[in-house]
Symmetry: C2
Subunit: 706 residues, 2 copies
């Protein structure tokens, strides 16, 4: 940990990495707190910004006293009422031994600078301070987003408000809200109240809640891009308005996950009437220039119309096939948005020769569609490597530079299929990339190439509830955020992994997000008594969830899907998500600590602190079978992990012997390696959708010593 | 823990203890969540109540599905716009295997019932449920309050909002805000803006923030009683308006704690002009019928006027001495409040033959003033035994029944002076009680005895900041809350102590209050790195702060005060509160667990779970010297605790040997007892204002075995 620390003290622990940081001599002492000053006559957003950050600094440093250090906000030129794509987000922060100055062209830039200042706050046990430095910073790409899916599981206003603080800390400036899908419709529609009244069960954002959310986002320089997903994924809309279905309409609000046949009928005037009304609602609620219209995963059979009326309609419109029908529909929505001064974004299935270049395309299936969209003149967003619902570790998401040449980006995507942790799902990964390539071939290049605006991390919420959000989001979002913010020359996976634990701790400290400690209600739902909490945390820290769609589809479902049969899915929208696996972050932060201590003790066998850390892990693992015996009796969820618990106790003995060997200056011998290999064999099989992740750092370390 | 658990399953873990609870057969399964229903045409407060609790249940149980159990809210008669003293707060909750029904006369009663329902939520590892029962409940006393002091250290709006949830969980229905004192003026005065502009440094509540606070309190059935402390404690007022001083006016905003000579001059018209304006502000902001006017600790010298003008004024007003001057002042403020349809409350120094009986008296110095106030016809509130800033353990506060006969209450107060944990401060405790008795003798009984309205726990904030609030407040507030809510027949200290840990865990689960885990920023300020967190928590759990005014005055200051000299105080309003002692709750919750395990293993030496708990404590204590070595190097705050850390490691050996002896069926021998006695001798001296509290459960246990 030492090197992370010392680099942190020089300001290099920042995440995302800034454009330019020059260390200076000395420190600004913050023993008396920090007072933010702004020029007389500063515009209201700056005054409000100062007030908000004054409170945040106060929470960390104590209330500012007469001896407080001063941070001076410089003049900002007026920005628009709301942040907009392309706004100047740069800032310049100068910290000296006598004070700090922050200059930015817009309040959004100033907000970034203040977030950085929070992250730079330092302490050494004797006092708190800011290391003197000059920081000149600006994001690399203007659209740095995250998609949250409110449809599969609702995220309520308090959850979204705390999330805005987490996003701001990551330099994310777009919150893309997926507001409807088969399973729910999530905003109050004044003009079509059946939508939220009949299909908002589980929760929807009321008009005044959206206003509060938009105001809070604006204060943080975050744009909210709403998504109305049409014409597919329309189960919730059709539950309220079955008369608009192109194919089947659901008898009840759909609970099943996965692609459906619920799609709007573009041949009906009533469909367009509803769209007019809902889009009027949407643009009243959300001020951003961009609206996402979905356009993904329309089942081709649904638009393969056979009936006479629709065939005649197709003929009259000059539409030859299902793809043309969908393109015609999408063009219609794009035009409706244009009438409302809004620009459209769509998922990469909207790519079609008939699509207007004014539409922005979000490439979710691979580098191929990204390149095709740009070549066809569309502005584009990259998401393919950044699906956070797949439970990849952060370092895999860090591989993708959306602005890299297509061949490089495609090559990076291809590495996923050969990644050891994804060995068992590589074929599925390749299939999706192939589908993207097929779509890409359907469009042709034009003269005016589109612009890469940035990208979005996507956290689809089939297995995410608001209680589970923080552990699922931030560890991996950090990787995407750095790729979108920072110069790719500085991209360094090892450095990123060193800075990540500190950043997550920072989030717990300065926001209400709890990526490390989680929601205290969750252990209660699992039946964990307070005196069992530490033992359960020790167990969970040693586990990670299975990857890709292996959780969502299940082992059987995965096999069916590979064989082209519809999978029997273990989850639907009503399945309670309160088993141990639900609580697991995809990267266990405790195991970073185990890994660090292992390599530290190997480098210096006399590193007593690292020894104690390892003994502590071993000691806590060894006690688990006794400490959790009663819980295993009470709870089938923990009974299902009984073998894991015994395996961890075995691993404790092995870890202790390993440390003994290192201290004795011996190389771990063949017998010990064989026992480890045996444990790996037993523990590799997924148990209750978990992997015994604690094996990995020990295995890596053994490998490094052979 | 088993008995606590099983009683919890029968609904008896409730805190405060309800009036009547009849267990019924079976459970209401909550696997699908809980849906709150209300009658058509329910008034807006009921609809809002249902919405708020629906979200809270959802956070614990997951979003309600089609299979959700139903909780039906019955009809409530209309209550006033705001809760008022004497409102019907009763409710009746019936839980059966098929659903739950809640009836209450007012929305405030319904809110209590819903809080209870949250507290009754249960889980056994297999699922969540409510045990079937009939609960008929109503509070014993109508004024169940807590004083928070915003003057010495400000508490901002987010802190106060989360606190409202904590108070509601305790059945507290009055939040008494101490809004001004020497060190600060804490609300925006539209009519006298100098007050908050010059004396609100450190923070004040803006007009719109007060509105938000009052609205949130109202929704929870909590009255907010504002206190304008006059004529003494007026340093902040006089900093803004030095022309109104009866004695000295401060040159700068006072930072020192302790009684001052800053008091308003009642002989000036300008004083009364200011009071008119500030009271107009106050009643605009706070709708409650009651306003607290302070009246405490006016230095007698200040009103011993010698100058001719004031002597003439006194003579004209017929005032003979300083006490008469103060009484005349207070009568004037009472009259001004009456003109504004407000009733006055004052601290027990307001007792004076000239005081109107319409004034409510808050007895803070002892049973004597409580009885004197009631006898003189005043309604009264009890606070003397409930000063939470004195760091007493909860069980001491639990001793005081404000409605008990005076002799009994006085006897209970007298026990404090002989309490072993307070042995070194007993004389100070007695001195304060004597002062109360002197005041009491100054008034005489009248025919119409006043009513005991209830009482208030008081948390003066010289050593409390908003980051530290939760650990200081809730453990002891629970004792006061139960005394105010529950039938004294059911009062049982042992039962209270058994229920308390579960209640604190409950608070962490259902509110944003963190009485057990604290604010993650605090360990950061102490320079604790994330990998040191568990070790630091292990250390802090074994410590408790010193008691009574020993922290605030310091050992030297305490001695000076005893000798009647002004103490040299170690703290003022700018002293940073971020040392280890600041983080300590006065009752360490972890030590309850140690105590339980010790007695469990003694009762059944084969109780493996209790053995492991004790081994776990010993194991963690033993590692501390190594784990914290680097931190001791970096931080003088931890260096100061180096001896404590070594003592804990010694105690680890002793605890292990104790457990060995019990398992072997042996009584702990004399040698072991001698070593323990030695450790007690070394560790009894306060170190960095902490006590080695871990000794106490072990000592108690050894004593029980001798």
């Amino acid at each position: 940990m030492q090197d992370m620390n010392s680099s942190k003290h020089a300001g290099h622990g920042l995440l995302p990495r800034p454009l330019r940081l020059e260390p200076r001599w000395g420190r600004l002492d913050l023993g008396g707190g920090l007072r933010i000053e702004y020029p007389p006559g500063a515009p209201p957003p700056v005054v409000e910004l100062a007030r908000r950050f004054q409170a945040r600094f106060g929470r960390l440093l104590g209330t500012a006293t007469e001896d407080a250090a001063t941070l001076r906000l410089g003049t900002t030129t007026a920005a628009g009422t709301h942040p907009a794509l392309g706004d100047d987000e740069s800032y310049r922060l100068r910290i000296t031994t006598t004070g700090a100055e922050l200059d930015a062209a817009t309040p959004w830039g100033a907000a970034h600078g203040l977030e950085r200042c929070l992250q730079l706050l330092d302490g050494d046990g004797e006092g708190t301070f800011l290391t003197a430095l000059l920081l000149e910073d600006a994001p690399r790409l203007p659209w740095r987003g995250v998609l949250l899916d409110l449809a599969r599981h609702f995220l309520d206003l308090p959850t979204l408000l705390r999330t805005l603080d987490g996003l701001a800390a990551a330099g994310i400036n777009v919150l893309h809200l997926h507001l409807n899908d088969d399973q729910g419709f999530r905003f109050e529609s004044r003009r079509c109240p059946r939508l939220h009244e009949l299909s908002g069960s589980g929760g929807y954002l009321r008009v005044e809640e959206v206003a509060e959310l938009v105001a809070a986002a604006t204060a943080r320089g975050i744009r909210i891009v709403p998504e109305l997903d049409v014409p597919g994924h329309a189960g919730a809309i059709l539950h309220a308005h079955p008369e608009l279905a192109a194919g089947p309409a659901p008898a009840t609000l759909p609970r099943a996950f996965g692609p459906s046949r619920y799609a709007l009928d573009p041949s009906l005037d009533a469909t367009w009437g509803l769209l007019e009304a809902v889009l009027d609602d949407l643009v009243e609620l959300f001020p951003d220039t961009y609206v996402h219209l979905g356009g993904d995963e329309v089942h081709p059979d649904v638009y393969a119309f056979e009936d006479a009326r629709r065939r005649a309609w197709m003929a009259a419109a000059g539409l030859s096939d299902a793809a043309a029908v969908q393109a015609w529909f999408t063009r219609g929505v794009v035009a409706m948005l244009a009438q409302r001064n809004r620009r459209a974004v769509g998922w990469d299935e909207v790519l079609h020769p008939a699509m207007p270049a004014a539409m922005t395309v979000q490439a979710w299936r691979g580098a191929a569609t990204l390149e095709a969209a740009l070549a066809a003149g569309h502005d584009a967003l990259y998401s393919a490597g950044w699906y956070l619902d797949l439970n990849y570790p952060a370092r895999l998401h860090y591989r993708f530079d959306p602005a890299a040449p297509t061949a490089e980006l495609a090559a990076a995507e291809a590495t996923l299929a050969t990644e050891p942790q994804l060995a068992d799902v590589g074929d599925g990964i390749l299939a999706l990339q192939a589908a993207a390539a097929a779509t890409a071939r359907s469009v042709t290049a034009v003269a005016g190439r589109g612009a890469l605006l940035g990208g979005e991390a996507c956290l689809w919420s089939e297995l995410v509830t608001q209680e589970l959000l923080d552990a699922r989001l931030y560890g991996r979002l950090a990787a995407v955020a750095e790729r979108l913010w920072s110069d790719p020359v500085a991209a360094d996976e090892a450095s990123f992994e060193r800075r990540l634990p500190g950043w997550l701790t920072h989030l717990e400290r300065v926001t209400d997000c709890r990526p490390l400690t989680g929601d205290p209600a969750m252990l209660w739902r699992l039946g964990v008594e307070p005196y069992e909490r530490l033992a359960v945390e020790t167990l969970l820290e040693a586990l990670e969830p299975v990857r890709w769609y292996k959780r969502l589809l299940g082992v059987g479902g995965l096999a069916s899907r590979r064989e082209g049969r519809p999978p029997q899915r273990p989850y639907d929208a009503d399945t309670p998500l309160h088993r141990p696996v639900d609580l697991l972050p995809p990267d266990s932060p405790a195991l970073w600590q185990l890994r660090t201590a292992l390599f530290a003790v190997a480098a210096d066998p006399e590193d007593v602190s690292a020894q104690v850390t390892l003994r502590d892990f071993a000691g806590r693992w060894r006690m688990l079978p006794v400490q959790l015996a009663a819980l295993e009796q009470r709870s089938r969820h923990f009974a299902a992990l009984a073998d894991r618990i015994e395996q961890l106790a075995d691993l404790a003995d092995l870890l202790d012997e390993l440390v003994d060997a290192v201290i004795a200056g011996e190389t771990p011998g063949m017998a010990l390696r064989q026992r480890f290999g045996e444990l790996v064999r037993i523990a590799t099989e997924a148990v209750a959708e978990t992997e015994l992740a604690a094996l990995r750092p020990i295995g890596d370390w053994l490998e490094s010593r052979s």
